[in-house]
Amino acid sequence: MKFADFICRDAIRAHLQAVDKEGAIREMVTALADAKRVDAGEFESVVKAILKREELGSTGIGRGVAVPHTKHASVDRLIGTVAVSPTGVDFASLDGESVHLFFLLISPPDRPGDHLRALENISRQLRDDTFCKFLKQAKTPEEVGQLLEEADNHQFGP
C-alpha cells in the first residue's frame, strides 16, 4: 500500500496549532471534514471514537510520531491525513517525547487488513531518518504531499 492510497492530500496540515492530544485530533478531523472526507454530521462521533481508542493506550510510537486512528462506520474506505506540529504535542508517547508528526487514520469496521497495511507502509517509510526529518521540517501542505509522493516512488530508504 502507498500513501496515495489513503492520505487525502487536501486534508494535510503543516502547522498544527494544538498543544494537547484532543486539540490535535480535533484539528486533523476538521481538516478531513473540510476536505469533505468526513461527513460534518459525524465529526464529533469520529473525534470521540479516536479519543476513546487513545485512552486504551497511546498511539505515540516514538521518534516524535503518533498514529491516532479508529474504525468508523461513516467511511467506506480507509482514509487518512498527515499533520506536522512545529511546537510538538504531548501525546504520552512510548519514549516520552512530544509528537511532531501525525498520521491519522479512519477505517471502515470490516477492513482491519487495510489498516495494518497502511501502518506497514508508514512504519517502513519512517525507518528512513531523512524522510522522517524532512517531513517534520515541512512548512506547507504541498511540501508534505511532495515528500509522501517521493516516498511512494521509492526515493527514500532502501
Binding site: G113, H115, R127
Partner: protein, 92 residues
Amino acid sequence: MSESAVSRTVIVANRAGLHARTAVILAKAAQRFDARVLVAKGLHQVDAKDVLQLMQLVAEQGDALRLEACGPEARQALDELEDLFLRKFDED
C-alpha cells in the same frame, strides 16, 4: 542463542491485529526485560522492542507468530508477551 534461549508460538487473537497501539504495548512490555526478544511471522523476524519493526509484520487476526528470547530474563519476557496475546491486548 545461549543456554537461556526460549521460544514459543502465539496466535494473534484480537480482531484488529498487531496495529499501532498493540505494537506499542508489546514493545513497551519487551523493553522492561533484560533479554533480546524477537518476533517472527513466517520468515520475517523483527525486534520485539522496536515498534516500527513490529508494525511491519502486518500481523492479522489468526496469524501465528513465533516469539524467541535470549538473555537473563528471556523466560519472564516471553511469559509476559504471551500473556498479552492471550488477553487479546485487552481489546474486543
